[in-house]
Amino acid sequence: MLDDTKSNKVLVEVKDLKMHFPIHAGIFKKRVGEVKAVDGISFDIYEGETLGLVGESGCGKSTAGRAILRLYDITEGSVKIDGVEIGDTPQPNLRKMRPTMQMVFQDPQASLNPRMSVAAIIGEPLNEHSDMSKAEKREKVLSLMDQVGLNRDFANRYPHEFSGGQRQRIGIARALALNPKFIVCDEPIAALDVSIQAQVVNLLEDLQEEFGLTYLFISHDLSMVRHIADRVAVMYLGRVVELASRETLFSDPKHPYTQALLSAVPEPDPWLEEKVDRILLEGDVPSPSNPPKGCNFCTRCPQVMEICKTEEPPTVEIAPGHIAACHLYS
């Protein structure tokens, strides 16, 4: 959003979003607790930008992405897309909104129906959400295939006949079918080979430029996020602990978790790698059904203070556009 190709218009506004999953136990399936997968996150996504969402597995990235698209009935909070509040919209009424917002999934294999041809998969959203004629639909599908770099001649083939990278292109074409404004990409390259990842990332960038798309790009691959995102939010145990522009986040991370996470990424350069100052975190991420008191990160934080074990840190803007939730800065 800092350079002039991106607008200042907020397209997606997430406020105090919570998604808790109940835990049931016993023969009466009594509710005994809840998994606080997403526990109060807030951020804006500007039109035309890519917001990266990073963090270790289990920290709530996918849940956040799905909750924002209202694939779940959210526990609390507000989600506005293009000015329209959808946080409390009942599922049937969401149908009209669906075309604007789409999702691309990690596992292209699992998200494509193996018994449908590629043309049928890509065209499926058109059946439900458009009144195109059969011929118009066919033409649209073929042009979508062109746009994502799939050979039109393969329109009648089945997903298993394609490689992982090509299957991801099918998933992207399907997401584009209804001319969405906002796409949640949930680990879209995690299942792909190194040499194929760049192909898909470049495609996503080209499509964004061509159609002015807005992305929430979820990934645990910090180097790829540094490449594709304009701004980056870092999640830990259901919370956003830091959010900043790409440049700031990678060159001047403030939250001790962000610092440790970035320092852990190996460097594909033996000379640089030797000089990396690693902050090794002890232990594992606590369970989201029983998060620690105070700051979520206090059990592993190398800079933990007394206050961190009792009081939840407020989220503060430590510099324009740079947000952190840490007692070091409050």
């Binding site: 760049a198 852990a264 975190l281």
Partner: protein, 348 residues
């Protein structure tokens, strides 16, 4: 890592072919390499490039049929593993060559305690009694950084987190003081913060124990931080081999060069646009008769489609299987056969 020392493992011309109803897959094609005492040999390549099948073939872990494993020999301390009996192989695998796989849940037995699984090889291969084995098991868990080791012996694998399970696997692999440790993508399924812990542990263990290690990964960052020497695999072949710094500074195979350019980094310059390697990695239905990378290679010329390039020795312990010479910016002059022999002799 002493340069002249005899290798602990020496693999010559290893080939593995899977014969399936759908046809043959030539997964490993004339792979030769050796492992020196105390060194860490990194093996890098995309999925399907033959990394796992190579290592599993040489210690008899590939069921045959459907696979056919052949070669000029796999010398391990004077024994040719390709000719060894199943019993011999089993005892070598349990004791003298240790293994760590990507997913510890598939190699740990869910119904036995972790303590039992560490103690079993100690009793079987080292002849320890129960008390001695137990004492050693605690030592091993402490060695790999599992807190409260004594108490955790009676826990089952599912009671450990992913990172801790991988530590348990490493403890089991190290139980009998192996001469060689083969680690197949041991950190691929882990988060980066946990991966950093395991890599740090590996540095410590190598300092303490000094065993030779083969470390398989698709992550060039991991290779940069941990390897002494590197094999780059593509299409079931070693396409480049060099000491780690030499490889990153002077990559001589177009595939290695492209791979180094296509991965972004969290430090240093950020590229506006990622470099792309067009096309897909191959599935080899027959023994390669041309360069397997040629269809994706911007430098390919007529010769590359006619002959599978041998590994050309380019000095400094470095060889590359490519007819194009990046030093001169032109195809190699054709003193090929000699170069091949030399490269194979020097591959150690």
């Amino acid at each position: 890592m002493a340069d002249g020392a005899a290798p602990v493992l020496d693999v010559r011309d290893l080939k593995t072919v899977f014969k399936t109803r759908a046809g043959s897959v030539h997964a490993v094609n004339s792979v030769s390499f050796s492992l020196k005492p105390g060194e860490l040999l990194g093996v890098v390549g995309e999925s399907g490039s033959g990394k796992s099948v190579t290592m599993m073939s040489l210690i008899g872990l590939i069921p045959s049929p459907p696979a056919q494993v052949t070669g000029d020999g796999v010398n391990f301390g004077g024994i040719d593993l390709l000719k060894a009996s199943d019993d011999e192989l089993r005892s070598i695998r349990g004791a003298r060559i240790g293994f760590v796989f990507q997913d510890p849940m598939t190699s740990l037995n869910p119904v036995f305690t972790v303590g039992y699984q560490i103690m079993e090889p100690l009793r079987k291969h080292m002849g320890m009694d129960k008390r001695a084995a137990r004492k050693r098991a605690v030592e091993l868990l402490e060695l790999v950084g599992i807190p409260d080791a004594e108490r955790r012996l009676k826990d089952f694998p599912h009671q450990f987190s992913g990172g801790m399970r991988q530590r348990v696997m490493i403890a089991i692999a190290l139980a009998c003081d192996p001469e060689v440790l083969i680690a197949d993508e041991p950190t691929t399924a882990l988060d980066v913060t946990i991966q950093a812990q395991i890599l740090e542990l590996m540095h410590e263990l190598r300092e303490k124990l000094g065993m030779a290690v083969i470390w398989i990964t698709h992550d060039l960052g991991v290779i940069a931080g941990i390897a002494d020497r590197v094999l780059v695999m593509y299409g079931g072949q070693i396409v480049e081999h060099a000491p780690v710094r030499e490889l990153f500074k002077h990559p001589r195979h177009p595939y290695t060069r492209a791979l180094l350019k296509t991965v972004p980094s969290v430090r240093g310059e950020r590229e506006e646009r990622l470099e792309v390697i067009e096309g897909q990695p191959p599935i080899l239905r027959a023994e390669p008769s041309s360069c397997s990378f040629a269809p994706r290679c911007p430098f390919a010329f007529e010769h590359c489609l006619r002959e599978n390039p041998p590994r050309f020795d380019i000095g400094a312990g470095h060889d590359a299987a490519c007819f194009y010479d990046f030093e001169t910016g032109a195809p190699r002059s054709s003193a090929t056969a000699m170069a091949k022999e030399e490269a194979q002799l020097d591959a150690g």
